[in-house]
């Protein structure tokens, strides 16, 4: 029997996220963003992190504001429905953080190379763009077979991937569904993996549908029970996006002072995940619940 990998959120972050780590998170874009884990990293005042992700909505902006970040390897940093990420802007404009400018496809390609264990992968995107000037991981290349011009993207191997999933067993086998973004490549390319899960379920429930598994459990280092752990982003099958929270964050992050006030209320004052749910309040959570259930047809994995 393998050992259980269940951790409390604070213990998983303390053990697997060291200062200076490269962390992939928010890898499904607008859905399944691991806000609870990101906020715990802020509470533990991790420093000099490199954040990796395509579009992680406001989570990257929050972690930059928390002083955790030295470098960003991403395609886009901001607030999807309101525009700018103000902490991000301030940090790049002051030189406090270094940006490696990707497109969604170059970041995917870098993680695919990492996932496949090769040093780089070619792509046809970004040719003629200035991404080459602000991203040392993208280099002009030539196809050895046809002579065509390509872009070579250097592999990324994050130290840790943090992926929010719907349900996991205590051994690291997890079901994830919906749009997956680059979750598979990010998990595969990373040295360590932390899963935060809406539910912890019996291993038999996961093994009843192995096509829905993110990655083989032996690759996972920690499993954390974190209900509402992606709030305010949506989780298919569990809850909808809290648009108002994203709209409110815009004005709550416009100045460093406003952001500090936001952080002390939404991050620093939260002592536990249970605290967080109480703080959010049942009324708010109920309005985000799934009201139109659509169950898939079961499939037969028998023999």
């Amino acid at each position: 029997m393998p050992e259980t990998k269940l951790y409390r959120l604070s213990d998983a972050i303390a053990r697997f996220v060291a200062d200076g780590s490269e962390i992939a998170l928010g890898v499904s874009q607008e859905t399944l963003i691991p806000f609870a884990a990101g906020h715990e990293i802020m509470r533990q005042q991790k420093r000099n992190l490199t954040l990796i992700g395509p579009i992680s909505d406001i989570l990257f902006d929050q972690m930059i504001g928390g002083g955790c970040v030295r470098r960003i390897r991403a395609a886009w940093v901001g607030n999807v429905i309101t525009g700018s990420g103000y902490n991000f802007r301030r940090a790049v404009e002051s030189g406090a953080i270094v940006m490696e400018d990707h497109s969604n496809l170059t970041l995917l390609t870098a993680l695919q190379a990492g996932a496949l264990g090769v040093p780089f992968m070619p792509t046809r995107t970004a040719l003629g763009s200035d991404l080459f000037k602000t991203n040392a991981s993208i280099m002009p290349a030539t196809c050895p077979f046809s002579g065509e011009k390509l872009a070579a993207v250097k592999a990324i191997h994050p130290d840790v991937a943090i992926v929010h999933v719907q349900r996991a067993d205590r051994f690291g086998n997890a079901h994830i569904w919906g749009n997956l973004g680059i979750a598979r490549e990010a998990a595969m390319a990373s040295r360590r993996i932390i899963l935060t899960a809406e539910e912890i379920v019996a291993p038999e429930k996961i093994s009843s549908d192995p096509n829905r598994v993110l990655i083989a459990g032996f690759r996972v280092n920690a499993v954390v029970h974190a209900p509402w752990g992606a709030y305010p982003s949506p989780v298919p099958g569990y809850y909808n996006r809290d648009h108002q929270a994203f709209i409110d964050y815009r004005s709550a992050s416009k100045t460093p002072q406003q952001f500090e006030a936001w952080k002390s209320r939404w991050v620093d004052a939260i002592r536990s995940h249970a605290d967080y749910l109480t703080f959010l309040g049942d009324e708010r959570l109920v309005t985000l619940g799934i009201t139109h259930h659509v169950w898939s047809e079961p499939v037969d994995y028998g023999y």
């Binding site: 579009i55 940006m99 400018d101 969604n104 298919p236």
Partner: protein, 260 residues
Amino acid sequence: MATENTNYTSVQLMVTAAAREIGNAEVVFVGMRLPLLGFFLAKSTHAPDAVGVFELGIVRDSLAPEPILTMGDLPNLYRAQWLADTADVMGLLQQGFVDVSFIGGAQIDRYGNLNTSYIGATETVQTRLPGSGGACDLASLAKRHIILLPHEKRRFVPRVDYITSPGYGSGGDWRRQMGLPRGGPSRVITTLGVFCFDPDTREMILTAVHPGVSVAEVKQNTGWPLRVASDLKQTSPPTAVELEKLRQFDPKGYWTGDMG
């Protein structure tokens, strides 16, 4: 004949003009914000068989059952044709299966290059913008792309500070020289008018002004000597049906500013 309708916002006019660029049964790579509305508008009017491809790994051939603000909102996943990985939809794009895409930008130049990354130099950053997202990929790899942005002189510059999403570079056959396999901007739709590109020089040309907008006003808000088409047209305003659909997809006017 439809009655003249002036009860619309400039964003509704832009989105309508964008939606009309989508042909029936085309494969559309749908970006965040206004393109979401444009796709649903086309799908519910003249292009019912259009297929939407979303960068986070969604392909859908039906309307979302409820209004959405981001492509990851759960109604956009409901009875999707395919819920997949970004690698899958980027594969469709890179292979050449995407007919048209829509992107926005902060800065554009006369050859349709777009900047959504840095204003000023990259070493001493004056203003940092959010970045490419998927825009660079769509501009590089779709069969054609359409650009939506507000028309202001500070945005319409002779040369962008940074090429996030390649247009026609310095003109002519620049894209081929760079190795880009296909594509390029086919239209620019702004708050003042609609533009195309010269088939040889690839310079931007004003082809239509919106109702109530003069050519002089467009020129005043453009940072280079603007070419104007000899057969300049006026943009047709949104019809009552198009406005009704837009209100249905954006009932609170979050994107269009139409509070009903």
